[in-house]
């Protein structure tokens, strides 16, 4: 008999549904992500992959079904067969295990780079300011921006801003990291510097990652699993090697053909 720890996934989607008004984006979606997995979601725009990330981060309200983070219900739970919304306080506790990096960086312009990184560790996790600063300096070192601590975000290039955003997310020591098209807003020549940082994070940590990207080479290098989405459904899933060299479904073939 498999022990509970063997199959307690980092993320579990159960009958998930998401509607925007009449528009059904996700329906009856079931999948799980094991701890330490690096899963890349691919598919045409509007296929629901970004919505999945935003649901995990509770940036969108779940229309139906359940999401579990390490076996804990995220936004809704079953109680006596009923679907009950969980309080903001509970959601916030679960959220602490999850970090997110956005397409538009979303650094706080009213704070320096250092203040951006230590704000949440100090005021949300209750870390001492000295510890948070030391940790932030280490992370800035890791992303190659050790000398930018006292700059304002808008003084940095897009690539630098995104690297700060990665450091800011990592400063919270997340178990799960969500990467939402993190290079889409960048000029082609600086995409590499951001992906290099993320590759290194993938190699040196065991953080579970859920990635939405159009960079297929990056997906191949970093992830151990790729899921192809279309119209809110999983069309196909496989290892990146298999998926990119030998796609099974017609829809996947079309998509991969179109973007290469």
């Amino acid at each position: 008999m498999p022990s509970a720890t063997d199959n307690n996934p980092a993320i579990l989607f159960e009958d998930v549904e998401k509607r925007f008004g009449d528009n059904v984006v996700l329906k009856d979606l079931n999948f799980s992500v094991a701890k330490g997995d690096r899963v890349t979601l691919i598919g045409p725009s509007g296929s629901g992959k970004t919505t999945i990330l935003r649901l995990v981060m509770t940036l969108e309200e779940l229309s139906g079904g359940y999401i579990y983070i390490e076996d804990d219900p995220l936004a809704y739970e079953k109680r006596d067969g009923k679907r009950v919304a969980l309080r903001e306080k509970h959601r916030n506790e679960i959220r602490k295990r999850i970090g997110m990096v956005f397409q538009q960086f979303n650094l706080f312009p009213n704070m320096t780079v250092m203040e951006n990184i230590i704000e949440a560790p100090v005021h949300v996790l209750g870390m001492s300011k000295a510890d948070a600063k030391a940790k932030a300096q280490g992370l800035l070192d890791q992303v190659g921006l050790a000398d930018k601590a006292n700059q304002h975000p808008l003084q940095l290039s897009g690539g630098q801003q995104q690297r700060v955003a990665i450091a800011r997310a990592l400063a919270m020591d997340p178990d799960i990291l969500l990467l939402d098209e993190v290079t889409s807003a960048l000029d082609p020549e600086i995409v590499g510097e951001v992906l290099a940082v993320l590759r290194q994070v993938a190699e040196t940590t065991d953080i579970t990652m859920l990635i939405v990207t159009h960079e297929m080479q990056f997906a191949k290098d970093v992830s151990n699993r790729v899921m192809m989405f279309d119209g809110g459904h999983i069309v196909e899933e496989n290892t990146p090697e298999e998926m990119f060299s030998n796609p099974q479904e017609e829809r996947t073939k079309q998509f991969l053909h179109a973007i290469v």
């Binding site: 903001e88 916030n92 602490k96 979303n106 312009p109 009213n110 949440a120 005021h123 949300v124 808008l154």
Partner: protein
């Protein structure tokens, strides 16, 4: 005596009026800001009851005129057993009226802060209060200053009507001066001139606040850079002064 000698003689009283007018305006502004932030935040709550209350208060104080509110407080509050100093009645009327207008500015500015900022703070597990205080409001503040400047000047101008309830403000003092000098000298030169100078100074101060707020968001030069008289730095490309 010439008009200017009359003015010199009346100057202490007029300066007293200037201080009363400034006190009314700044006191009214302080009260308005407290009301504006409270109502502005309430007006964006998801709870219908809280939002409804805020909307009703905002529309009530915007819809009934400043002078009506002033006279209501002046004539009717004593009947309710509340006896306030007239200056405080003036400050209350100005604060309530312009607070309601400013609440819309606060609400609109908070809503204009980019959605990415809200999402990033949620992703960092910040509480609602923390998010508003540390992330959203500082950014909204820079957006609201220009409109608040307009309202502040409106309030300064509106304060002139309080002389009607026997507050000895600048307008009241200028009215006294008219008896000794001409209409144009008293109302035109001294009256309008003083108000214009006060309005100008208030605008300058608000503009400085805006420069500072924008600089904190990493946009534009700092106040010190702007006010310094040292020559502009040579541009990077040419090394030559523009």
């Amino acid at each position: 005596m010439t008009y200017f000698q009359e003015l010199a003689e009346a100057l202490p009283r007029i300066m007293n009026g200037v201080w009363v007018t400034l006190g009314l305006t700044l006191g009214g502004a302080a009260l308005a800001m407290i009301i504006a932030v409270t109502l502005g935040l309430m007006a964006r709550q998801p709870n219908t009851l809280i939002r409804g209350i805020a909307r009703a208060i905002i529309e009530f104080f915007r819809g009934t005129s400043l002078v009506v509110q002033l006279l209501w407080l002046y004539f009717i509050l004593p009947g309710l057993g509340i006896n306030l100093n007239v200056i405080f009645v003036g400050v209350m009327a100005l604060g309530l009226n312009y607070g309601a207008y400013s609440a819309e500015v606060v609400r609109g500015s908070i809503n204009s802060v980019q959605s990415g900022q809200w999402e990033a703070s949620t992703a960092l597990s910040m509480s609602r209060v923390h998010r508003m205080r540390r992330i959203i409001f500082p950014q909204a503040w820079a957006l609201m200053i220009p409109s608040l400047t307009n309202l502040l000047i409106h309030m300064l101008k509106g304060s002139a009507v309080v002389s009607f309830i026997t507050i000895y403000d600048l307008t009241f003092r200028v009215d006294q001066l008219r008896l000794d000098t001409g209409t144009w000298f008293a109302y035109g030169l001294v009256g309008l001139g003083s108000y214009f100078i006060i309005a100008y100074i208030l605008t300058l101060i608000m503009n400085m606040l805006e420069v500072r707020a924008k600089h904190r968001l990493g946009r534009g030069e700092s106040l010190r850079e702007m006010l310094s008289l040292k020559p502009a730095r040579p541009s990077a490309e040419t090394g030559v002064l523009p």
